[in-house]
């Protein structure tokens, strides 16, 4: 039984890393205001939201089995307080910090209309800290983190997020960037 819990937790962790990456990429795309050829802005926004909530579900799938697993020796305090773990405390702690940040980002996301734009945005920016922490946790803590497929996956996710971040800070990032710099008129891809 413990083997099954352990395997389940590990796979959920890997899946969650992919979901978190998808969430960050979709968040950046959403922020640009650009639709995709097959997906309007509204759909991208809902996809960003739903993939993020799915990432929360898989984080539960990642952490809950470890609480039940006698071998992992993770307790409830370790889930929220970083760097107290009995195995690779530092790398596990990075995951704990990422979990805490995710809780803050999700809670403020759900309460966006009550909190207002400033608070929402300030906390939402923590996502950019959460993603590298989660990746570092998975590489530093993962049982198979040094295996070729895991390293390749980590590199692919890293390149994707770095490319998106570079695009995010580039001058032409916003859909409206050209027009607002005094460029040509556009029809905004109206069907």
């Amino acid at each position: 039984m413990d083997d099954a819990l352990w395997a389940f937790a590990r796979v959920s962790g890997l899946v969650d890393m992919v979901l978190l990456t998808g969430s960050v990429l979709l968040g950046i795309l959403t922020r640009s205001g650009r639709p995709l050829p097959a997906l309007p802005r509204v759909s991208l926004m809902l996809l960003h939201r739903n993939i993020s909530l799915l990432a929360v579900v898989f984080l539960v799938f990642h952490v809950a089995p470890l609480l039940l697993d006698a071998y992992a020796r993770v307790n409830l305090v370790d889930v929220v307080v970083p760097f107290l773990g009995s195995y690779k405390a530092f790398w596990q702690g990075l995951g704990t910090v990422a979990l805490d940040l995710m809780a803050a980002v999700v809670a403020t996301g759900l309460l966006r209309h009550r909190l207002g734009r400033r608070t929402f945005r300030a906390v939402h920016w923590l996502s950019y800290a959460m993603w590298p922490l989660a990746l570092a946790h998975s590489v530093g803590n993962g049982t198979d983190a040094t295996s070729a497929p895991a390293v390749a996956a980590a590199v692919v996710l890293c390149v994707a997020v770095l490319a998106a971040a570079a695009w995010r800070v580039s001058a032409g990032f916003l859909e409206t960037a050209d027009a607002r710099r005094g460029g040509a008129r556009r029809d905004w891809g109206r069907p």
Partner: protein
């Protein structure tokens, strides 16, 4: 617009709006976009420029308008009475 007038109005807070374009996707009959991406009341929806921040909505558009209010990334929209 029906003879009875609009079912409600969509109030656009221009101090918040950044022209991301979600509301114009959800309400294509009521809103268009200007050259910089900001929403505008569709031609014929408002009589005077002065009322351009309170776009009249039909009853059929109310659901989409509620979605637009919920999804607006800048929290710039509100539904007000007719």
């Amino acid at each position: 617009m029906s003879v009875a007038g609009p079912a409600a109005r969509l109030h656009i807070d221009w101090t918040m709006c950044d022209g991301r374009g979600l509301c114009t996707e959800l309400l294509p009959e009521a809103l268009t976009r200007d050259d910089w991406g900001y929403p505008l009341a569709a031609p014929g929806r408002v009589r005077a420029r002065a009322d351009a921040s309170n776009v009249p909505l039909t009853g059929a558009e109310l659901g989409a308008a509620v979605d637009a209010v919920k999804l607006c990334p800048l929290l710039a929209l509100r539904i007000t009475g007719p």
